[in-house]
């Protein structure tokens, strides 16, 4: 356990008990809210059933225990074989409860899965890859990876984001508990879901369908931006890659373009048009790399390019085996891609 990071225990306890950053009980969008409401109803009903039934069991077990000191302890109790009335009642009451639960459920299912899409909504295509996320905004002409930006949706003037999802390889599942329930990404199939965060901020989640070795580090980061911030972000992302004047970055660009990097990565405005790995056009503007696995800083970028396995064993990007000089140059180049 050499590399184990012992987290600060004291810091664990409060988040452990309060609504942590991915708790389903801290909804921040409409789908999550309606699920939350339904789940409270269900928890209430099941709790009531539990209390009644467990109470009866407890009573029976205590009250009817064999007591050796009883006068007729060795006599068999009277044998009862059944009673139609009683049996009927405990058939009918559960049926009624089931009907109630079913009606409440149906309402939420249709409210979430079958309401018409408003014209003011934002379309986003999501493609799941082993082990990263590809996001594109077809109407805005933006392609990015791993960090999803969406606008905050004001309930009075809703601008929900609609995700159209599929997979490039195995099954994945998109799950940001505070915004909405999960939805799977399946090859050859298009699924949709929507979310409408009502407060700006960062919402975390992660892939929820086992998809291979690094399923655990296929993390999701959704940034809900105010409309102004979102517009600025879009405007920036639309630009082609920055051409840095720094000589080392320029050298890095050359190395990048002469390596196999370009067969897997796209950098808009350059010869790099690979689609197998994440788009790197504005990689430096992201806060993390490796699908949320590590913070994005030059040191980590360098280490990642040198040997991605170090952070994500089983990752599909091969170690590039470059010398230190080339690595430094590439790092400078990538870090310049703001």
């Amino acid at each position: 356990m050499a590399r184990t990071v012992w987290p600060d225990l004291a810091a664990q306890i409060p988040t452990g008990f309060s609504h942590g950053s991915t708790s389903i009980f801290a909804p921040a969008g409409t789908p999550a809210h309606s699920i939350f409401g339904l789940s409270m109803l269900v928890l209430g009903i099941t709790l009531a059933i539990f209390l009644v039934v467990a109470g009866l069991f407890l009573y029976a077990v205590v009250r009817y225990r064999h007591r050796a000191e009883d006068a007729n302890a060795s006599r068999e109790p009277s044998q009862i074989f059944g009673s139609n009335q009683i049996e009927l009642s405990w058939t009918v009451i559960p049926i009624l409860i089931v009907v109630l639960l079913f009606l409440a459920t149906t309402r939420v299912i249709f409210m979430t899965q079958s309401i018409p899409k408003p014209a003011s909504s934002l379309d986003i295509n999501v493609v799941g890859h082993q082990f990263w996320w590809e996001y594109s905004y077809p109407k805005l002409g933006v392609v990015t990876a791993n960090e999803l930006h969406i606008p905050v949706s004001d309930p009075k003037k809703p601008t929900p984001s609609y995700l159209t999802m599929t997979s490039a390889d195995t099954d994945h599942s998109f799950w940001v508990p505070r915004l909405a329930g999960k939805m799977d990404l399946i090859p050859n199939q298009i699924n949709t879901m929507w979310m409408d965060p009502q407060q700006a901020g960062l919402y975390l989640g992660q892939c929820a369908q086992y998809c291979g070795v690094q399923h655990a580090k296929m993390l999701i980061r959704v940034y809900a931006d105010s409309p102004a911030d979102f517009a600025a972000w879009v405007a920036h992302q639309k630009q082609p890659a920055v051409e840095s004047a720094d000589p080392q970055a320029a050298a890095g660009r050359a190395i990048f373009q002469h390596n196999s990097c370009i067969s897997c990565h796209t950098i808009a405005g350059t010869v790099a048009t690979g689609r197998f790995g994440p788009d790197l056009t504005h990689v430096a503007s992201r806060e993390t790399i490796g699908s949320g696995a590590i913070p994005n800083n030059p040191a980590n970028l360098r280490a990642f390019v040198d040997n991605p396995e170090h952070f994500k064993p089983g990752v599909l990007m091969p170690a590039m085996h470059m010398n230190d000089k080339d690595l430094d140059a590439i790092t400078a180049y990538l870090a310049s891609l703001k």
Binding site: A2, P94, D171
Partner: protein
């Protein structure tokens, strides 16, 4: 318990205590390997399952060590992925199925007054083919892409979703071992199920009408019938997967237009009934044990039978509740919500009938009964979390999270494993002729109970805090660590409890008090034979006039036959 001595019979000569000459180990081995006696086959099933219980339990311990801390690197991601795959596959196919078939094999012929199963040789064949399946699964540690360790065991998860199992995503042979193992175990299960059905229908002793069969036999009949319609689809799907992997067909090959969702349907058409195949025998044990230790007849026999048959049928139409997040559409989701929730009605009937059986009884707290009572409470909770998952929108949040893992361990461990332990304390005397130590049994119960609740109660929480299942590690800032620590600590208690149980069995086998034919003063036919029963079970085929033949015998003044 005070019982008037059962009628001594002509069978006296067949006392099992005759002093046979000592035999060579090889002779004994040969005896067991070539046996077609349902009792020996039953015991082999049980022994085999116990070995695998410890193996898969150790795998669980390793996973719990890895998960007790965030960003831990006790095992590699590949190793972790094969740990949960092997743990799940082993527990379901090579612990749950064989142990239940083992008890069924042992008990069903005895309880219906038969001398053996309908097809003794098929019985032996079924056992050996399933056993071979299990060995093949573990051989993957050596055989699949070389001897270099844990990475080569299957790592596709116990439901092995396509296209992860395709050659491109799962090179090497580990997945081939997985399919083959499941295929063989499936063939064995179908064989044994066929045998149990034919035995119950064709081998009952005179007077044992269907309406007089012990409930255990009824439940085994339903379970076995379910096996035909549930395990066969799995067999078919495994054949398709093998064709895909070996000769390049395209059933689940998404690159050639094949469908990933089709596999999910096929798997869960098997997988859901499978969980009822596993739980019904546990219900069956409860149906025998709870009445005997409450000293009362089972309440609502006919309703119990009807509910079991009902569960069997409904369970065939609910499979897509494992697929609420697959994008089936609102209509299909709604249908499967209703079908799934309806199953709580017959299940509730069972629970309430057990309650009514306890009511007004004289409950004896033997180790066996304590496990059964634990089962009742835990199954209630497990069922209610199941109902939460069946609420599709709730499942969009909880599905594939640790909440699901908590739900199904609550059923599989809190329900089935508890009832299996209960069955051991109850029938071990019949099988071995020796009583298990009650004192150790109660220690076992309390230690395991504490471990169970530490592990699986707290496992619901990280699920609700957003922790998905099947992750080899997690981020430190999510607030999941404290829960995982508690969960892992519980696993240690469970291991200690299990060790105590194994020790109890070994110790009691050699040193335990002699059981006699009927230590619990029970009512079904198996207790009319010596313990352990002779090879032919009954020197004279009995005939019965009610559901509780030994009650009639012990209470000639008030036999059950007056009431049925």
């Amino acid at each position: 318990m005070a019982a008037d001595a059962p009628v001594p019979a002509e069978t006296a000569q067949t006392a099992t205590t005759h002093s046979a000459p000592r035999r060579l180990v090889l002779d004994i081995l040969n005896d067991w390997v070539t046996t077609v006696d349902h009792k020996k086959i039953g015991l082999m099933y049980i022994g085999y399952a116990l070995v695998f219980l410890v193996v898969a339990g150790i795998q669980a311990l390793l996973m719990r060590i890895q998960l007790s801390l965030p960003n831990n690197d006790f095992v590699s991601p590949q190793a972790f992925n094969s740990l949960f795959t092997m743990h799940g596959t082993t527990m379901v196919f090579f612990v749950g199925m064989p142990i239940l078939f083992g008890f069924g094999n042992y008990l069903v012929p005895l309880m219906i007054g038969a001398r053996d199963m309908a097809f003794p040789r098929l019985n032996a064949f079924s056992f050996w083919i399933s056993a071979f399946g299990g060995i093949l699964l573990y051989f993957s540690y050596f055989g699949a892409s070389g001897l270099y360790g844990a990475g080569s065991a299957p790592d596709v998860g116990w439901f092995a979703y396509a296209p992860l199992t395709a050659r491109v995503f799962s090179p090497g042979h580990s997945t081939d071992y997985w399919t083959l193992a499941i295929l063989l175990s499936g063939i064995g299960s179908i064989g044994t199920a066929l045998n149990i059905v034919a035995t119950t229908i064709c081998m009952r002793c005179p007077g044992m009408k269907l309406s007089r069969m012990p409930l255990l036999v009824w439940l085994y009949l339903v379970t076995s019938s379910l096996v035909f319609v549930a395990v066969s689809p799995l067999t078919a799907a495994q054949i398709m997967l093998m064709l895909d992997r070996y000769i390049g067909s395209h059933f689940f090959d998404t690159q050639a237009g094949g469908s990933a969702v089709l596999w999910m349907h096929f798997f869960w058409i098997f997988g859901h009934p499978e969980v009822y195949i596993l739980i019904l025998p546990a219900f069956a044990f409860a149906n025998e044990i709870i009445p005997v230790f409450s000293r009362k007849a089972i309440f609502g026999y006919a309703a119990m039978v009807a509910a079991s048959v009902g569960i069997g049928f409904i369970s065939l139409s609910v499979w897509a509740h494992h697929m609420f997040t697959v994008g089936l559409g609102a209509g299909a989701n709604t249908f499967f919500v209703l079908a799934t929730m309806i199953i709580s009605v017959p299940t509730g009937i069972k629970l309430f009938n057990w309650l009514a059986t306890l009511w007004g009884g004289k409950i004896h707290f033997t180790a066996s009964m304590m496990f059964a009572i634990g089962f009742l409470f835990q199954f209630l909770i497990a069922g209610l979390t199941g109902v939460m998952l069946s609420i599709a929108p709730f499942d969009w949040q909880l599905g594939n999270s640790y909440f699901v893992v908590a739900h199904f361990h609550y059923v599989l461990v809190g329900g089935i494993l508890f009832m299996i332990f209960s069955a051991f304390y109850y029938w071990f005397p019949k099988m071995s002729g020796k009583m298990l130590s009650e004192k150790l049994g109660k220690w076992h119960f309390w230690i395991f109970l504490i471990g169970f609740h530490l592990t699986f109660d707290f496992m619901h929480v990280p699920g609700m805090l957003g922790m998905p299942r099947r992750i080899y590690t997690y981020e430190a800032d999510r607030g999941w660590m404290i829960w995982n620590m508690i969960i892992s600590s519980g696993a240690i208690f469970q291991a200690a409890g299990t060790l105590l149980f194994v020790y109890n069995m070994i110790w009691s086998y050699f040193k335990g008090p002699v059981a006699g034919p009927d230590p619990w003063d029970a009512w079904t036919l198996e207790w009319s034979t010596p313990s352990p029963p002779p090879a032919y079970n009954f020197a004279e085929i009995p005939s019965v006039a009610s559901r509780r033949p030994l009650w009639d015998l012990k209470h000639p003044e008030d036999p059950d036959s007056n009431y049925e």
